[in-house]
């Protein structure tokens, strides 16, 4: 164990910090801070340009192997990048579903043709991706997939419905978990398809949320088509591939997420100082607790990352989701309590639009629900880490 950064790591930090400072004070100054919690689509066009610029400058996918057009950056360099990116107030990434989910999956399971076709455009923000896993009625029970694809000639023809699909309205491609074997059940007979979004068989309908905005969508597949060879990992292996995709979701992006949490907490602390609630002993306790929780998350993520890199088995990875989700939800409540009566007043310039911390409050309610509710997370910890008996499935 050693908390010190190496001279090379410090040099890397200095490089990315100065690069970000240059461009985010320069031509991209107007997009700083965009894309926070519940503000996913803010300044969309400008942010796409920024991400394309990142790609052209070689900063889009630093963790990818050089063979795929990345920098082959070490884990610690990725950590440093994520921290500096957030510290600089650079905008939330619109490409992360492609970069962090689609790409690693294609690298691990895709054909050479798939890699050549998709990876460069993901890196350079020329094609955006969305994820087609969740279905209405399936919730946390991902194996209960009903969307079907059948072969017709050299194409798959898809029927079904996905839900909670972020960015679907802006995406060029969707990676889709669907049932390709008629009559199969649970984990079997599923395949992982890559499907172009711009076609008549696909209908995207935004889901309006409690904030008044719509960041998720329902996606209806009614005779949608994709080429036969756009199955990743082989027909019938969809479950295995999708599970791998979900594991990619964790990892370095956790650090980026925490860096965003850092910005949120700093904003709340600044507010508490400004409105004098920071002098209230009870608010002080809660702010200190929030700060402690954020630090512990960071240490836990560092532990997960360095253990993973060294191949050490340990259990801390199991706790990340429930810990951050519960912490973040609590942070939203704390923000409202610090705002006091002001918390009730939303933007007076729009019909119904939340301020940033109100978005945090409302939107963080979904954190303990999506990607496995807190209840499901506790089951996973008990059953997989503590080896306690599984919940029986119903009939």
């Amino acid at each position: 164990m050693d908390l010190n950064f190496s001279p090379e790591e410090n040099a890397f930090r200095a490089e990315i910090r100065s690069w970000l400072a240059e461009h985010l004070n320069g031509e991209f100054a107007h997009i700083r801070g965009l894309g926070g919690t519940g503000e996913q689509l803010e300044g969309f066009e400008e942010r796409i340009k920024w991400e394309q610029f990142l790609g052209q400058s070689g900063w889009a996918a630093i963790g990818w192997p050089k063979a795929f057009g990345g920098r082959g950056a070490s884990l610690m360099e990725q950590v440093i990048f994520a921290e500096e990116y957030a510290r600089a107030g650079a905008p939330g990434r619109l490409t992360h579903i492609g970069l962090e989910l689609a790409a690693p999956t294609i690298m691990a399971f895709g054909s050479d043709e798939q890699k050549a076709r998709f990876l460069p455009k993901i890196r350079d923000a020329e094609e955006l991706w969305c994820q087609g896993f969740s279905e209405p009625g399936a919730g946390s029970d991902l194996s209960n997939i009903r969307t079907k694809a059948r072969r017709e000639g050299d194409e798959w023809v898809i029927e079904g419905q996905k839900i909670w699909t972020s960015h679907a309205q802006h995406s060029d491609w969707c990676f889709l978990l669907c049932r390709t074997e008629e009559g199969s059940r649970n984990h079997k007979g599923l395949s992982f398809l890559l499907v172009p979004m711009d076609q008549p068989g696909i209908d995207v309908r935004p889901i309006k949320q409690l904030t008044g905005d719509a960041e998720f969508n329902e996606v209806f597949f009614d005779g949608a088509r994709t080429k036969a060879d756009l199955v990743v990992g082989g027909e019938g292996n969809g479950w295995k591939v999708a599970m791998a995709t979900l594991t990619f979701e964790r990892g370095v992006s956790t650090l980026a997420q925490q860096a965003n949490f850092r910005n949120e907490l700093d904003e709340i602390i600044a507010l508490a100082k400004a409105n004098d609630t920071a002098k209230d002993p009870i608010i002080r306790q809660r702010l200190a607790e929030a700060e402690m929780g954020l630090r512990v998350q960071r240490y836990n993520a560092l532990r997960t990352l360095t253990n993973a890199e060294s191949g050490t088995f340990s259990r801390e990875g199991y706790i990340a989701k429930i810990f951050w989700a519960s912490w973040h939800r609590e942070l939203g409540k704390l923000a409202m309590d610090i705002m006091g009566p002001e918390a009730e007043l939303i933007s007076q310039d729009h019909d119904y639009k939340m301020k940033r911390l109100q978005n945090l409050f409302l939107f963080s309610r979904s954190d303990t629900i999506y990607a496995g509710t807190n209840q499901v997370q506790r089951n996973i910890i008990a059953e997989r880490a503590l080896m306690m008996p599984k919940e029986p499935r119903g009939a």
Binding site: S134, D337, E344, L345, Y352, R365, Q375, A395
Partner: protein
Amino acid sequence: MNFTFSEEQNLIRETARGFLEEISPSTAVRQWMESDKGYDDGIWQQLAEDMGWAALAIPEDYDGLGLGYVELAIIMEECGYRLTGSPLFATICQAAQALIHGGTEAQKQAHLPAIAAGQTTATLAFGNGGSFGLDDITLSYREEGDGFMLNGTAGQVIDGASADLIITVARKEGSADESGVRLFVLPRETTGLSATTLKTMDQTRRLTRLEFANVTVGSDTSLEGGWDCFLKTCRIASIMLAAEQLGVSRWCLDAAVTYAMDRMQFGRAIGSFQAIKHKCADMMVRVESGISGLYYAACVIDADTDELAEASPIAKATLCSDAMKNAAECLQIHGGIGITWEADVHLYFKRARAGESQLGAPAWHREQMALAMDL
């Protein structure tokens, strides 16, 4: 001593429940949310005239029904359960209380019968929508000839733009203690008094910023009661807000149980999982303990004793924070559906949030309790 609802009280609840179920489905609530006033005039006339709810807790001497606060709490709880938009809270639970407990005989005669008849709506303007300590009063007055001149801004006044009458609470300029507090009753349409409707997270109740710029009123607008009247009014209003929040809490329990029994996951109704069952059990503990705490507090108002200084913070702190917890659990149990606009959960979640801080957050009321306990 008897802690059971009388037959008449049960009848009032049953009637209210049936009526509100009919006129206040969530489709109607969503329409009122989009409206200017936050409620429908026709429905209000039905509540006030046909149902008699405006007259319920007004003394018979002023054309009211002279029923008690338990009856009023029942109505407020049921309105909370349906999120029914109406001027009941601001008019009856705030303004009318100030008149009843601090108005001059002339003021009572002038206003209470019209309030009881549902012809006049009213509200209370004193501060920023939160706690009601002396320093929370943001308006000031000075004596000016035979009358008074009012200045300042009151934020988050409930129904402040639509109410016919405003009860204004103000401190004498330069005064340092409670003796400088005066209440005034004045028409909403008064020179120098302007209202701005505020956009709020909870859309089921309309909040307003009222600005008083050299508002001149006559001496007959000043109520007899001062600080004590203000405190009593806010304590009663806190209990009635808690009653609404009990309705919110109870709806969240009912909705969570219904959804959990309906929703299948892993081949089972999620309501068969112990984690969900235990969440629902805890929600019921909050509802039932809330009923006990609330109706005791309502009885205390009826009994008109000093215990109000304790019963009110108990009801406000526990019921409002429990409503927030129940709304949060209800949303959690609903899963992804719970965060959609389409599902009704968020309406209750936002109302619970608003009610938690209105008239003082739980921590403030706990501190009031600590003071009452002589800590």
